[in-house]
């Protein structure tokens, strides 16, 4: 980071970040093309299996975002450094998008396979709870003016999201409800493993891109707020 003419940190977005965004989207296109070309229709689900290439990676990255949110929240409460609060907020926003996407894709897949858009299955329910926690987290940040209070309260909610994602992960083991056992390259047919891995990496690159851009945005917004506060203090009449 270079210093600007006023001696402050310029807060430039690193040059590799836009490149990462373009690379991620290109990688996602390539991963989806390869997955469609190499994977035969599933014995039971037919071509609907192809929704797995987006639903499962979205769910994984939503979970990873929750873990990042939880770790950053704990670090903030422990160390009280602003950068951890920025990381947590960045992960929460990306996590909310990916959790919402996971739910919608699950519904689109569930309608033709289960015959229903939604059911109160354990994994589905705790994923919906996770989405509501994200919405609550982002609302809390939007409606709390005091920076310190906002950071502490949202860190508590962030830890809740990380706990919930553990329940989402174990839900298919703890409760025998409608959602099938978890899918991974080890549990799916080898014909589907490559497509799943490639799409998972594409979603991982996108998650990193989203978090980095949002983190830099948060730093810029905070720096602008600090300057505005300093200016307001300097311009206000002195009180004795």
């Amino acid at each position: 980071m270079a210093a600007d003419t006023n001696g402050s940190v310029a807060l430039r977005l690193p040059r590799w970040v836009p490149a990462l965004g373009l690379f991620s989207l290109s990688f996602l296109i390539a991963a989806q093309v390869i997955a469609f070309r190499v994977s035969p229709p599933d014995r039971d689900m037919g071509n609907l299996q192809k929704i797995m290439y987006i639903h499962v990676p979205a769910a994984w990255m939503a979970s990873l975002a929750s873990v990042i949110l939880g770790v950053a929240s704990v670090l903030f409460l422990w160390r009280r450094r602003e950068k951890y609060d920025h990381v947590a907020a960045s992960a929460a926003e990306a996590g909310a998008v990916l959790t919402g996407l996971t739910l919608v894709l699950g519904m689109i897949w569930g309608r033709p396979t289960w015959g229903i858009w939604w059911t109160w299955d354990a994994r589905l329910t705790f994923t919906a709870v996770l989405f509501m926690i994200y919405v609550g987290y982002l609302s809390l940040r939007a409606f709390t003016d005091d920076d310190q209070r906002r950071a502490v309260w949202s860190a508590a909610v962030g830890i809740l999201a990380a706990i919930d994602v553990l329940i989402v992960y174990k839900a298919v083991d703890w409760w025998r409800t409608l959602h099938q056992p978890r899918s991974s390259p080890e549990t799916v047919d080898p014909a589907y493993a490559l497509g799943l891995r490639l799409n998972a990496f594409a979603f991982l690159f996108l998650l990193i891109f989203f978090i980095v851009v949002r983190y830099h945005t948060a730093r810029l917004e905070r720096a602008a707020d600090e300057r505005a506060e300093e200016r307001a203090l300097a311009e206000s009449p002195a009180h004795v």
Binding site: L25, D44, I51, L220, R231
Partner: protein, 60 residues
């Protein structure tokens, strides 16, 4: 996705599957590109506001 024999999706073999697949991929691309665009616009706005604070003291 090796399903057990009792899995519910075995009872629905005659579905028009492609409209669901297309819908899923369209939703995915709209959401991902939409959020990427939102993140980009918000970053540009934050950048402008910060530069404005540094150069002009908030009064552009």
């Amino acid at each position: 996705m090796n399903a057990p024999r009792s899995a519910p999706w075995r009872r629905a073999p005659h579905m028009s599957e492609w409209r669901y697949i297309v819908a899923a991929y369209v939703v995915t691309w709209v959401v991902l590109c939409g959020y990427a665009l939102y993140a980009r616009v918000r970053h540009v706005q934050a950048r402008r506001r910060y530069d404005d604070e540094v150069r002009n003291g908030g009064g552009s």
